[in-house]
Amino acid sequence: MRLPALARTSHKWLGLLLAIQAVFWTAGGLYMTAVHIDIIHGDRLVRPIPATPLNLASLVEPSALAAGAETVRLETQLGRPVYIIGGSGGSRLVDAQTGAQLSPLGEAAVRARADAHFAEQGEIVDAELLSEAPGELRGRPAPLWRVQYEGAWKPTLYISPQTGELMAKRHDLWRTFDFVWMLHIMDYETRDNVNNILLRITTWMAFITSLTGAWLLFYSFRRRRRARPAKA
């Protein structure tokens, strides 16, 4: 086979194998670059909660509550001081003024915490306690409260019943990014393994395809330059 024919044949057969994935890569890449990552992360869905000074004198001593625990955090939730006590058996939430245990939080307490974070207009559509982390929250400890808001992008906040903290924020732009990312790294199950064998093979094939394209380019443009002096 002559070299130009070999370049053309290899480019066209590799192209046949890879064209759809190449469209996924570039269209998805365009989405990921064009929509700013801060918007994807949903930074505008929540407002910062101002830090207020604590009156330590009025609180129950942590040593009285946290026997056998590993860490204690004193924070403010809904304007009241709380302890988040962490240990080998997980975390729990305690009212720092009374010493009463608050966790696991019920629906009303979770809705109130979600509303304190949520920065946009719109009411809660649904609040549900999930015993397993959903796909869009892979790897996070369960159980979790999912609080869905009304709104075009279906904003959703996840609150931990054990600590009362905001665990994650999701909306449709994030979900689209995640789908596009799945196509980009070709891990259709967990969407987080960038070392998978399919991606490794396909990316090297794409590299070869692009090289054969460059090779073919060489013949495509040279042929024309030759043609011109012949006419003159």
């Binding site: 066209k12 192209g15 046949l16 064209a19 759809i20 190449a22 469209v23 890569w25 570039t26 269209a27 890449g29 365009l30 990921m32 670059t33 064009a34 929509v35 700013h36 990552i37 830090a51 207020t52 000074p53 604590l54 330590l56 004198a57 609180l59 001593e61 942590p62 040593s63 946290a66 026997a67 056998g68 625990a69 590993e70 860490t71 204690v72 955090r73 004193l74 924070e75 403010t76 240990g87 080998s88 790294i185 393994n193 960038v194 070392n195 998978n196 991606l199 490794r200 990316t203 090297w204 794409a206 590299f207 395809t209 692009s210 090289l211 394209g213 460059a214 380019l217 495509s220 443009f221």
Partner: protein
């Protein structure tokens, strides 16, 4: 079809190099083991610890800190326990039992880094970082940079304010980061993939991919697939032509 072919050729000529770079850097990032890139392979699991019985009462904590406290942590740090207080002027650390103020100096940073590193190698260098670079990215400064003498040159970046290990860098990461830079086309800070250059080039390359897909319909003739559609006849013809 002629127009699509011409545009495929010209976009390929102008932007094709970036497609080569994207596929190559993508292939390399897929090849480099993410655990080595993140340094997860050298993390030492912390031993289980329990808050000591005789921690300082809150009244004394407030006194020792001497400033309004917006949040407070009682946490293990190295071999001791500390109170870590967030104040309007920054984070303060005191020993949770004695109440003595605690600063993360070079010695303490080295000890904390060693406790978090599973390798047997010694520390190669300890530096205080006050100006950010590609390695520290957007981490809050100042930082302690503790590098170990292992083949990966594992480097732990610790917060001077809290003593926490904020990030770890390895030789694999440093190599990965070059491919990342090429991939996101941010050649100075290697941070942002949301800039006009990459959006423009991605639009052009998207056209390259779509036009390539369209051209496929023209590029193949039924005879190209004869091995699949008429395997016996095609194989016979091939053998016959070889005999000749």
């Amino acid at each position: 079809m002629f127009l699509i072919r011409t545009l495929h050729k010209w976009v390929g000529l102008i932007l094709g190099l970036q497609f080569i770079l994207w596929s190559f850097s993508g292939a390399m990032m897929a090849l480099l083991d993410t655990d080595k890139v993140s340094g997860a392979t050298s993390v030492r699991e912390p031993a289980a610890v329990v808050i000591p019985a005789a921690v300082l009462p809150l009244g004394q904590v407030a006194e020792r800190i001497g400033q309004p406290i917006t949040s407070l942590r009682l946490k293990p740090l190295g071999s001791a326990y500390v109170y870590q207080a967030a104040t309007p002027t920054g984070v303060r650390l005191i020993d949770a039992v004695t109440g003595a103020p605690l600063a993360i100096d070079a010695g303490r940073a080295s000890a904390l880094a060693t406790a978090d590193f599973s390798g047997a190698q010694a520390i190669a260098s300890v530096r205080r970082i006050t100006e950010g670079d590609v390695e520290t990215r957007k981490l809050p400064l100042p930082l302690w940079r503790v590098e170990f003498a292992d083949p990966e040159k594992t480097t732990l970046l610790l917060s001077e304010a809290t003593g926490e290990v904020l990030e770890r860098r390895t030789e694999t990461w440093r190599l990965w980061d070059v491919f990342w830079m090429i991939h996101i086309m941010d050649y100075t800070k290697r941070e942002s993939f949301n800039h006009p250059l990459i959006i423009t080039v991605a639009t052009g390359i998207l056209w390259l991919a779509i036009s390539g897909l369209i051209l496929l319909f023209r590029a193949f003739r039924p005879s190209d697939f004869s091995y699949v559609t008429e395997p016996v006849a095609r194989t016979r013809a091939a053998i016959a032509s070889r005999r000749r």
